[in-house]
C-alpha cells in the first residue's frame, strides 16, 4: 500500500510517451515559427536577444550561435529526438544501455527546448513553456528498461501537477469576482484567446450549466489536488477528475498543449494496478532502480524541495503572481493564469490595400490562422499545436493602441508590406503576395452570434468596429519619416 516504484513501470511508460508527443508538437512549432518570429530576421530579431540578454539569466544555444541555420537544425534535432522518445527508443536497447540512453535523450530534449524558450522572449512567455521544461527535467530521472522508476520522481511529478492545478485555482478565486459569483463561464468560451469549433455551442449552454462548471472548476483545482498524494484508489480518482476537467477544456478551446501536458502529468497519479485493470496490458516484471539513479533522484528531490519555497510562498500570498520562473533553467516554477476573465472580446484585424489613396472599400483583411477575422468562419481546432502570433494578437487587442510590448506588431506590418515570406507564413491568408502599398490595423469588438442570428445568417460572430489600432502606414512611413515611436505608445 505504501508508494513503490514497482507499481509505476507502466505509469512511467505511458507518461514518457505522452511527454514525447508534447515535445514533438513543441519542436514542430519551433520548426515552423521560431525563425519568422524570433530568428535572425524575425519580428524580434535574434541578435537583440544575443546582444542584450545575459547568458546566465537566459541560457540558450542561440546566444552563442544566433543563426537561423542553427535554429532550424536544433528544432529538427528536437523533432527527431521526440520521435525516438515517442517510439521508446531506449527501451529497444540492451539492458545496460537503456537507462543512460534514456537519461541522455530526455536531457537533450530538455536542453534543446530550453534554448528556444530563453531566446523566444515574448513569443515564448507562456506558462506551458516553463511547465514543459519542468516536466521534461523530471523525466530525465525516471529511467527506462527493466528497472523500476525511482518512486520519489513520481511524487515530484505529483508535486508539479499539484502546483499547476492549485495555483490556477487560487489565482482565480483571488483574481475576479466572476469566479466567486460563478458567472465566469458565461464569458469564457467567447473571450478565451482562441475559440475552437465547439466554443460557440459551449457558450450557448444553459446558465445553470455555466454555474455548475465554475463550481466544478473550484473543486477540481482547489480540493482535488490534495488527493494526488493520497493512497490508491483516491489518487487515481483525483487523476481521473483532473483528466476529465482538462479534456473538457481541450474539447471547448485552443490552449496550446497546456491541457494535454496537464493530462500527461496526471498519469503520475495512477498505478500499474489501475492501468492493467482498464487496458489489456500486463505490467512487466522489473527490478529496483540502480543505486546511482536512486541517489540522483533523491538529490533532485532535495533540490526541488529547496527550490519550491518561493513558488509555494507565491501561491499562498494574497498578491500571487501568475506563471513565473524563479531560476534561469525553469526547474521549479509557479503556475496559474486566467485569474481574470475578459467580458468583451476585442480583436485586431490587419488590412492591406494596393490603392495609392485608399477609400474605405479598398481594404482587404488578412485572415489569421486561429484568431477570428471573417464573421462567417467557424473557429478552428489547433491545440495542441500553438499559434504564437495569434496568441500575441489576442493580448495586443486588449489595449486600444499598441504599447512597447507590441513593437513586434510594427515589424509584422513592415514585413507584410515587404511581402516577406516568413511573416506571410504566420498569417492565415495572403491577399497581397508581393506586399500591399498600405496596411492598417483595426480594432473590433466580437461576440458570438445568438442561435437565432446564426440560423438566419450562418455567421458565427457579430462584430462592431471600436477603433483604429494602427492608422494606415506605408513601407516608407515605417522605415523612415513616421518612425515606430509615433505609432507605439
Amino acid at each position: 500500500m505504501l508508494p513503490s516504484g514497482a507499481d509505476c513501470v507502466l505509469v512511467r511508460f505511458v507518461f514518457q510517451r505522452g511527454l514525447a508527443v508534447i515535445y514533438l508538437f513543441a519542436f514542430l512549432v519551433a520548426v515552423r515559427q521560431f525563425c519568422p518570429l524570433a530568428g535572425e530576421d524575425g519580428l524580434l530579431p535574434l541578435s537583440e536577444y544575443a546582444e542584450n540578454a545575459s547568458f546566465r539569466e537566459r541560457p540558450s544555444l542561440f546566444y552563442v550561435y544566433p543563426d537561423d541555420r542553427i535554429v532550424g537544425l536544433t528544432a529538427w534535432v528536437g523533432v527527431a529526438l521526440s520521435l525516438v522518445a515517442l517510439f521508446a527508443g531506449p527501451y529497444w536497447l540492451p539492458a545496460p544501455y537503456a537507462l543512460p540512453a534514456s537519461m541522455l535523450l530526455w536531457l537533450a530534449l530538455w536542453g534543446l527546448y530550453q534554448s528556444f524558450v530563453n531566446a523566444g522572449r515574448v513569443f515564448y512567455g507562456y506558462g506551458w513553456e516553463s511547465m514543459l521544461l519542468e516536466t521534461g527535467f523530471l523525466a530525465v530521472f525516471l529511467g527506462a528498461g527493466a528497472s523500476n522508476p525511482p518512486v520519489v520522481v513520481i511524487w515530484l511529478l505529483k508535486w508539479l501537477l499539484f502546483r499547476n492545478m492549485f495555483g490556477a485555482g487560487l489565482i482565480k478565486i483571488r483574481g475576479d469576482d466572476c469566479w466567486r459569483d460563478l458567472t465566469c463561464m458565461d464569458h469564457h468560451y467567447e473571450t478565451q484567446p482562441m475559440p475552437n469549433p465547439v466554443s460557440w455551442f459551449a457558450h450557448h449552454l444553459p446558465e445553470r450549466f455555466h454555474r455548475v462548471e465554475v463550481l466544478g472548476n473550484h473543486v477540481v483545482e482547489l480540493a482535488v489536488p490534495f488527493l494526488y498524494f493520497a493512497p490508491q484508489p483516491y489518487a487515481t480518482a483525483a487523476g481521473v477528475a483532473t483528466i476529465g476537467f482538462q479534456a473538457w477544456l481541450v474539447f471547448t478551446g485552443n490552449f496550446s498543449w497546456l491541457n494535454a501536458l496537464t493530462i500527461v502529468q496526471a498519469v503520475a497519479t495512477f498505478s500499474d494496478g489501475v492501468l492493467t485493470a482498464v487496458a489489456p496490458v500486463a505490467a512487466p516484471a522489473a527490478v529496483s532502480p540502480p543505486l546511482a539513479l536512486t541517489v540522483l533522484a533523491v538529490l533532485v528531490a532535495v533540490l526541488v524541495v529547496a527550490m519550491s519555497v518561493r513558488p509555494v510562498v507565491n501561491m499562498l500570498s494574497p498578491t500571487q503572481v501568475m506563471n513565473t520562473s524563479f531560476d534561469p533553467l525553469n526547474l521549479v516554477n509557479t503556475y496559474g493564469a486566467f485569474g481574470s476573465i475578459t467580458r468583451d472580446r476585442y480583436q485586431l484585424v490587419i488590412e492591406g490595400t494596393d490603392a495609392e489613396n485608399p477609400a474605405e472599400d479598398d481594404w482587404t483583411a488578412y485572415d489569421c490562422k486561429g484568431q477570428p477575422v471573417r464573421t462567417d468562419e467557424r473557429p478552428s481546432q489547433w491545440a495542441p499545436y500553438h499559434l504564437r502570433l495569434d496568441w500575441q494578437l489576442w493580448f495586443a487587442a486588449m489595449r486600444p493602441r499598441p504599447g512597447r510590448r507590441q513593437r513586434w506588431l510594427l515589424e509584422l506590418l513592415e514585413a507584410l508590406l515587404e511581402g516577406d515570406e516568413g511573416a506571410r507564413s504566420l498569417m492565415g491568408s495572403d491577399p497581397f503576395p508581393d506586399g500591399p502599398e498600405w496596411v492598417r490595423v483595426l480594432r473590433y469588438r466580437y461576440r458570438f452570434t445568438t442561435p437565432e442570428e446564426r440560423a438566419e445568417t450562418g455567421d458565427w460572430w457579430e462584430r462592431e468596429r471600436v477603433g483604429t489600432y494602427v492608422a494606415p502606414v506605408s513601407l516608407a512611413d515605417l522605415q523612415g519619416g513616421l518612425g515606430r515611436r509615433t505609432v507605439v505608445r
Binding site: 460563478l182 473550484h218 480540493a223 507565491n314
Partner: protein, 72 residues
C-alpha cells in the same frame, strides 16, 4: 545574502495568508493524512477511526474554505 533577503521578502508576502487558503490547505492536508492513516490501519482500530475523523474534518475544511469565497 541576496538569496536570504529574497526568501525573507517572500515569507513577508505570505504572512497574511487569507482565511480561505488556511482552511483549504489545512483541510487538504488533514484529508490526505486521514486517508493514509485509515488505509494503513486495521479496520475499526483506533488509528483507523482517527484517520476517518481526520478525513471528514479535512473534507469539511475544504468545503468551508471554498464556500466561504462564493457569493452565489
Amino acid at each position: 545574502m541576496a538569496l536570504i533577503d529574497s526568501l525573507r521578502r517572500s515569507l513577508d508576502r505570505a504572512r497574511d495568508v487569507e482565511r480561505f487558503v488556511r482552511l483549504v490547505v489545512g483541510g487538504g492536508l488533514a484529508l490526505v493524512a486521514g486517508l493514509w492513516l485509515a488505509t494503513l490501519s486495521a479496520l475499526w482500530s483506533l488509528p483507523w477511526a482517527v484517520g476517518v475523523v481526520l478525513s471528514f474534518g479535512g473534507f469539511g475544511g475544504l468545503a468551508v474554505g471554498i464556500r466561504s469565497e462564493l457569493v452565489y
